[in-house]
């Protein structure tokens, strides 16, 4: 009673009194999503955003494999990002279910499911909250096969986790932890750039014989939409995509950052008549050295951009390989544009991100070196 009365009065006052103020928070998209033209999968397509295409992949996994289980925190009602919407009703709560709130439990349980031959598709609610599960993933999942000489494995394990910036996520709803996992022999790590890619990659991961981690850029769940094949299809793990061909500079990114890079390529062309080749790495572990090095040998200049901090970021690994493989081809030092070496800050997100202007400035430096 107190609540509703207070509420009504307060709301009215609020609307009356603050209409005059218009210091609306900075909520800007760092990029514009353009539908994928790279992937050519035949068959019927329908418009989906990324949470819908992931839902479609999970639906197919549950339908085609009756050992498949989908679980995690709040997964039952559809998940906080709606990726599992409707699946509990369709497949029953024995196959699609909420777990208690415990990431180490989710990961350990999932490994156990996979170790006896069932398909485990686990959701960690945010990649920022995967760290309680780090031990299970890094010391257990990744090493199951190796430590038993191949006697046991948990290859039927797939862990999905939303990652990356979303405009207002701050320290604990924005992180991109791919580099921590890239340092873990035995795991596979992929990051989709949009709905079609997410569906195909997820189905590959679910059916891959090794444990996989799918980091899903959460800004794309609703923000990216395109015509997605409705049927069953897989896209390769370990292979990069060239999204735009170019001759002067190679731009390398993954996840949402590739959409920033696509814009950078356009700006570079308009402003400086520089032709950029844009590569989506897609797969962090294993990663596609061939595609990257071939491109670098052609363009002789490289920029790598990721949201995660600079130091020890996955960009560093790519830099090391490029200098080993393409040393004599390089015309300029390899550039990295990344999040800064600070925790991910709330109101400073527009300054923290490797946005198109920071990337463009780096391109200008590369060509003028």
């Amino acid at each position: 009673m107190a609540l509703t009365k207070v509420g009504r009065i307060a709301m009215k006052t609020l609307n009356d009194e603050i209409k005059v103020l218009n210091n609306v928070i900075v909520r800007r998209n760092n990029f514009v999503y353009t539908p994928d033209t790279k992937i050519t999968v035949q068959g019927e397509k329908t418009k989906m955003n990324m949470f819908q295409s992931i839902n479609s992949a999970l639906d197919i996994a549950l339908r085609t494999d009756d050992t498949a289980l989908v679980f995690g925190e709040d997964v039952g009602f559809g998940g906080v990002f709606r990726c599992t919407l409707g699946l509990r009703d369709k497949y029953g709560k024995d196959r699609v279910f909420n777990t208690p709130l415990c990431e180490q439990g989710i990961a350990g349980f999932a490994i156990g499911v996979a170790a006896v031959g069932s398909t485990a598709i686990a959701e960690i609610q945010f990649a920022d909250y995967i760290f309680p599960a780090f031990d299970q993933l890094v010391n257990e999942a990744a090493k199951y096969r190796y430590r038993s000489g191949g006697t046991f494995d948990c290859g039927k394990l797939t862990v999905r986790a939303p990652c990356g910036a979303v405009g207002h996520g701050a320290l604990y709803h924005s992180q991109s932890p791919e580099a921590y996992f890239a340092h873990t022999p035995g795991l596979k790590v992929v990051i989709p750039r949009g709905p079609t890619k997410a569906k195909g990659l997820l189905l590959s991961c679910i059916r891959d014989p090794d444990p996989c981690l799918v980091l899903e850029p959460k800004i794309l769940y609703r923000g990216a939409e395109e015509d997605v094949p409705v049927g069953d299809f897989q896209l390769p793990i370990g292979r990069a995509d060239i999204l735009a061909e170019g001759s002067d500079v190679t731009l390398i990114g993954w996840g949402a950052q590739v959409h920033v890079l696509k814009q950078v390529a356009q700006l570079a062309k308009e402003k400086y008549s520089v032709s950029c080749e844009v590569i989506d790495l897609v797969s962090i572990l294993p990663w596609d050295m061939d595609t990257v090095c071939k491109s670098v040998k052609k363009t002789k200049r490289v920029l790598i951009a990721h949201e995660a901090p600079l130091t020890g970021g996955f960009g560093a690994e790519i830099v090391a390989t490029i200098q080993e493989e393409c040393f004599l081809h390089l015309e300029a030092p390899i550039a990295r544009v990344t999040g800064f070496d600070t925790p991910f800050p709330h109101v400073f997100e527009p300054f923290y991100l490797p946005d198109k202007w920071r990337c463009l400035a780096a391109v200008a430096k590369l060509v003028n070196y």
Binding site: M1, V6, I18, N23, V80, N98, H173, F340, D355, W357
Partner: protein
């Protein structure tokens, strides 16, 4: 002696010891209880599983009935009128602040918010039973505790805006409050991480006449850190109050899917902890429970587990729409019956402490105060962008100085592409 011979001789000595021990045991009285180091207990010769059926559920301690009448006069906390008034005013001010900040998120003015509806008494009752020197580790739904301690409306609003007067420098999402002066450790989003930390603080403060209180949800209680915290608290005799706000849900997950036992309270005795389950909607019951827990914790240097039973009347957060997983009837039931502020108001009215006129005046005052803070907070600039490089370390190390300098150079060239009008210029 060869190595081989030596080990054979050690082995035979061990075997001899074995016989000696068995002999000693036989000489003990057959009435002796089991001697296993793992448990001090007795023998039984009839087989049974111990389970939920073996214990009655822990009852819920209350002081008031639904209409705010004291049920057992011995349990009335006999608080001074001013204290009761402050309790009520803080509980309802919290409502007004929640409403306005929730709405402001809806209008895109702040990025996120979490309301405290339904849990006013758990927060205020426990806060009132402690002293300012006692340290608070919160989860996030404890704004009332801070309010009780003296965090101002302006401080709440400034944090939610992340403006230049936010003590947290705009680094965290809204509602991640903290205050050194008020001994309230800054909120962190990862659940349950505060729990073992609270226990460590309590250990370090042993013997200094202070306790630590740690709030956590029914969902957070499932994390590995929750187990670590309770077990450390009990084995290391820490004067810590582990305060569970059991509000029925962890986002969409109902408690039935969170635990199989008798709530969180039942775990207390299993860890060897004094435990109490309390009506979290009864501010006096929460007050008494916390007060007595503190007295015990200080006297015995031991932890207490408190489980406050309540209901999360609001959505989990502004990112949530709870109609997707619970019925409006269920919510209505809790916002009309047993609502904590109503219960206290009935009590105050029956004592002649409060009436319609006072209520009206207070509601107006509360609204005016929140709006004033809100408007003042909204127009303040955010901190200068370079503040994002501060407080990563005590001193900015060279690699970060370089990144900051690079960014400065970039900003000089590209400033028109950044929302600098909303940020401090220097």
């Amino acid at each position: 002696m060869s190595v081989m011979n030596r080990s054979v001789s050690v082995l035979s000595k061990n075997i001899r010891n074995c016989f000696v021990r068995r002999h000693v045991k036989r000489s003990l009285s057959s009435e002796a209880g089991p001697l296993f180091p793992g448990a001090k207990t007795s023998w039984t010769e009839s087989f049974d599983f111990t389970g939920k059926h073996s214990y009655a559920p822990i009852p819920v301690y209350r002081v008031m009935d639904r209409r705010g009448n004291i049920i057992n006069p011995d349990e009335e906390p006999k608080l001074p009128d001013e204290t009761i008034l402050k309790m009520y005013k803080d509980m309802t001010l919290l409502n007004v602040m929640d409403k306005i900040l929730y709405e402001s998120q809806r209008q895109g003015r702040i990025s996120f918010y979490m309301t405290n509806y339904g849990e006013e008494a758990t927060q205020i009752g426990s806060a009132a039973a402690l002293d300012l020197e006692d340290i608070v580790y919160g989860q996030y739904r404890e704004a009332g505790v801070l309010m009780w301690r003296g965090f101002t409306l302006q401080q709440f609003v400034d944090q939610c805006y992340g403006n230049k007067d936010d003590r947290g420098q705009g680094k965290q999402m809204p509602i991640h409050y903290g205050s050194k002066e008020l001994n309230f450790i800054t909120i962190s989003s990862p659940l349950s991480t505060q729990m073992p930390q609270a226990v460590g603080s309590a250990y370090a403060l042993k013997g200094r006449n202070r306790v630590v209180i740690c709030y956590f949800g029914d969902g957070a209680a499932s994390e590995g850190d929750a187990h670590a915290a309770l077990n450390f608290a009990a084995t290391l005799d820490c004067p810590v109050l582990m305060f569970c706000r059991n509000n029925g849900y962890a986002i969409s997950t109902p408690v039935e899917e969170q635990y199989g036992g008798d709530g969180v309270a039942a775990r207390g005795p299993a860890y060897g902890m004094h435990t109490v389950r309390v009506d979290g909607n009864d501010v006096f019951a929460v007050y008494n429970a916390t007060r007595r827990a503190k007295e015990y914790a200080l006297r015995e240097s031991k932890p207490v587990l408190i489980e406050a039973m309540t209901y999360r009347v609001g959505d989990h957060s502004t990112s949530d729409d709870s109609s997707a997983y619970r019925s409006p009837d269920e919510v209505k039931q809790w916002s009309t019956n047993d609502y904590p502020t109503d219960k206290l108001r009935f009590h105050m009215e029956s004592r002649g402490l409060w009436d319609k006129e006072k209520e009206k005046e207070w509601q107006q005052q509360a609204r005016k105060d929140v709006m004033a803070a809100f408007q003042a907070g909204e127009v303040k600039h955010k901190p200068h962008w370079s503040v994002m490089f501060d407080e990563v370390y005590k001193f900015v190390p060279p690699h970060l100085q370089k990144q900051k300098a690079d960014m400065k150079e970039h900003m000089d060239k590209y400033k028109e592409h950044y929302p600098l009008d909303k940020f401090d210029g220097k």
